[in-house]
Amino acid sequence: MRTFPAIVRFRILARSFSVQGSFNYKTLIGTGFAFVIAPGVRHLHGGIDARDDETIARHADVFNAHPYLVPLAAGAVLRMEHDGVDPATIARFKQAIRSSLGSLGDRLFWAGWRPATALLGLAVLLLGGSWWAAVLAFLVPYNALHLWVRGWGLKTGLTRGLEVAGALRSSPLSRWADRAASAGALLAGTCAVLAAVRTSPSVTGPVIGGLAVVIGGILGLRVRKAAVLILVFAWAITAATLLLSPG
């Protein structure tokens, strides 16, 4: 870990925030990954351009991972480069770990923590809280975990190198993914009731809202498509009445 001074680790971490900036269908985040590890590579080789170029170029090949877990992969790769692990082994490591980092990150954040914290913010709004309280209720807890995972990932990768898979298995991230989804389910139920009652002013609003919650539960992932179709239909009917109305 101390092989890489704090300033180098900071640069790697800072660059990790832009890892998807050059996302493309050829190398996915490969180019971005090379961008992230470049400060570490330069530090390792003491600024010898030819070796820097060869190492950075090697790591610009196809790679993908959840963006928040890229520092973990970057740290592990840099540790292996430092330890002189042969390039073929490092390439196999990257190939092997990418699906774990992708699925764990997706479960923990996209399917767990993000909906949970967004629902917390929405619940604040539906309860009549101010807009800035809702925004903070969403962003603060979300980014607390987000930033912790980035920092933990880089530190773990640099410390464990090739053994990082074991660290991932013993980490609490998978457990947290389950808990985040459970918290999301709790807040989804809360928001469903609040929305059913609060978002429709008429007397029949809560009844219609309750029915809508049940229909939404049946539709699942198809709810957005169904909502768009209904909104288009409603818009077309309303627009037609406007066009046909006198005056």
Partner: protein
């Protein structure tokens, strides 16, 4: 009609472009989500309540979108900024709300298609080889900058288009109350959908949430 002065178009475009960066290229701190983008834009435009309305509806609709792998997902930030900026400076009729939300949903798809094209452009610059490595960092930074420009242009175009259309949408109709009930029902349905998306085996937690919601309503 919304404000089409150069100053307004500029700030709306820059906010949309900056938040679009957070969507993928830089940050991913979720300030690009509709809940944040729309409410903050509404506040900047002088009507936080309008921003809250747009943010609530668009965020509820966005909850069922999961960006896994290289999937193409709707781009929320520019669309949310456009919708909130226009709605916040309007008379806020229900038909305008319906039209704005629909426009935002369409514009999310437009944004997504520009990102898709952008990724093909990035692939032309993605090279593996020693010569490429020297320019790799510069190319990556340029790609981030180009994405910011893309987001700014998508926002500017959307704002100009929706502003012009607002003149016709800003009307009272006989269906106003029905529209409000419908949009409220759709928001409720989106929350209900999470029962399935987050896992039906978590039904106890969902039910506990329903009870909690009832208690909070009774207490308020």
């Amino acid at each position: 009609m919304a404000d089409l002065s150069l100053g307004t178009v500029l700030w709306v475009s820059l906010v949309g472009g900056g938040l679009a960066l957070d969507g993928t290229s830089f940050g991913q701190t979720m300030v690009s989500r509709p809940l944040v983008a729309a409410t903050v834009t509404g506040a900047l435009a002088g009507s936080p309540a309008a921003g809250v309305t747009i943010g609530l509806v668009l965020e509820a609709l966005q909850l069922s979108v999961l960006p896994v792998g290289a999937s193409r997902t709707p781009e929320s930030a520019p669309a949310a900024v456009v919708a909130a900026a226009v709605y916040a400076t309007s008379s806020g009729t229900p038909f305008l709300l319906l039209s704005t939300v629909l426009f935002a949903l369409v514009w999310e798809r437009v944004g997504s298609e520009t990102i898709h094209g952008f990724r093909y452009l990035n692939a032309r610059f993605a090279s593996v080889g020693e010569v490429a490595a020297r320019g790799l960092e510069r190319q990556h930074i340029l790609a981030c900058g180009a994405d910011a420009l893309r987001g700014t242009l998508v926002t500017a175009t959307g704002y100009l288009l929706l502003s012009v259309l607002t003149t016709w949408f800003e009307r009272r109709t006989i269906a106003d109350e029905a529209i409000v009930v419908l949009i409220g029902a759709i928001v409720a349905a989106c929350f209900g959908a999470l029962f399935t998306i987050l896992g039906r085996d978590r039904w106890r937690m969902f039910a506990a949430g329903v009870l909690l919601g009832g208690l909070l309503l009774a207490a308020s």
